[in-house]
């Protein structure tokens, strides 16, 4: 009897300690913002026919800067509204978990940026680097899966969505009907726009419901 009571107490303590380490800021606005930015950027890239590997990398690097800066401002606004420190321990943990995979993606992008067009026989269009958006997708998924250990449970599933989707598209290859331009921007828009937006809308409703109860 006392043993059960003590075990339950320890379980409650463990749950509370885990909850304390979780990142609790509302993620829906951040996801929706990133989704809208991703879709708008994909449409813009496709309309402007951003087709050279170097310009493609620079274009999406610029988009990621906008997305990160916007997310930063949204998190900061939430922290100010709640009178809480911005650089809280959970925020620090999430950032540390995100960094390795994101830095790997950045380094690969820099290599492509430097080497694009230098390899003999490689065309100076996106056909030669169609693996790059998929690499970004998979690494982004790895980053969010790692951060998911300090965030609500759905975040790891979100990461898996990117990882499985990216690897699946590697396996399927480029469909014959798709031009490199359509394919590259379609991947970026679909994953970084569509998935973010869908998850953001899902979070919007579930976070509201959780707050209401």
């Amino acid at each position: 009897m006392e043993s059960n009571w003590a075990a339950e107490h320890l379980q409650v303590i463990r749950t509370l300690m885990e909850r304390s380490a979780l990142y609790r800021r509302a993620l829906a606005p951040i996801m929706i913002f990133n989704g809208v930015v991703g879709l708008a950027a994909a449409a813009l890239g496709w309309t402007l026919e951003v087709g050279s590997p170097r310009v493609f990398v620079l274009f999406w690097a610029g988009v990621s800067v906008v997305a990160i800066a916007g997310s930063f401002l949204l998190v900061r606004r939430q922290a100010l509204k709640e009178s809480e420190p911005f650089w809280s321990p959970p925020t620090r943990r999430v950032t540390q978990a995100l960094l390795p995979a994101l830095v790997a993606g950045l380094m690969i992008s820099v290599v492509v940026l430097v080497r694009a067009g230098l390899v003999a026989g490689q065309p100076d269009n996106l056909a030669g680097v169609l693996w790059l958006p998929l690499i970004w997708v998979v690494l982004y998924g790895c980053a969010f899966h790692a951060a998911g250990f300090f965030m609500p449970r759905g975040m790891r599933m979100f990461g898996w969505g990117f990882i499985i989707g990216g690897c699946g598209l590697f396996a399927v290859g480029v469909p014959a009907w798709a031009s490199p331009l359509d394919y590259a921007h379609g991947i970026m828009g679909g994953f970084f726009g569509g998935l973010h937006l869908a998850y953001g809308v899902y979070l919007y409703f579930t976070e509201h419901r959780r707050n209401a109860t």
């Binding site: 003590a6 300690m17 909850r19 609790r24 100010l80 709640e82 009178s83 809480e84």
Partner: protein, 102 residues
């Protein structure tokens, strides 16, 4: 069965609300009043009362400051508080060990 560990349980920590506060703070260097209130779904008054009790026992330190012209109250465990919390967990483990069938 030896009732000793049960009798040694710190009554200040043993209360459900205060134990929850200490558990949260044991996993974070510090937490703001609003973070604690929201995570534990306590009322302001309830949380204030528990914090005061823990503070009087010397288990909690409370810092009041201003951030962007808004008052910010943060709580953290004191070394005696961390020790008392670890001791409480050890006693719970002792109780489980004593009553566990061999």
């Amino acid at each position: 069965m030896n009732p000793e560990p049960f009798l040694q349980l710190d009554r200040v920590i043993h209360e459900k609300g205060r134990l929850a506060i200490l558990s949260m703070l044991a996993a974070s260097p510090e937490l703001s009043f609003t973070e604690l209130r929201d995570a534990l779904t306590m009322t302001d008054g309830n949380l204030t009362t528990h914090i005061r009790t823990l503070q009087q026992a010397g288990y909690l330190s409370v810092t009041k400051s201003f951030r962007n012209n808004r008052p910010l109250t943060t709580c953290s465990l004191t070394p005696p508080g961390r020790k008392a919390f670890a001791n409480y967990i050890n006693l719970l483990e002792q109780i489980i060990r004593q009553t566990k069938p061999e």
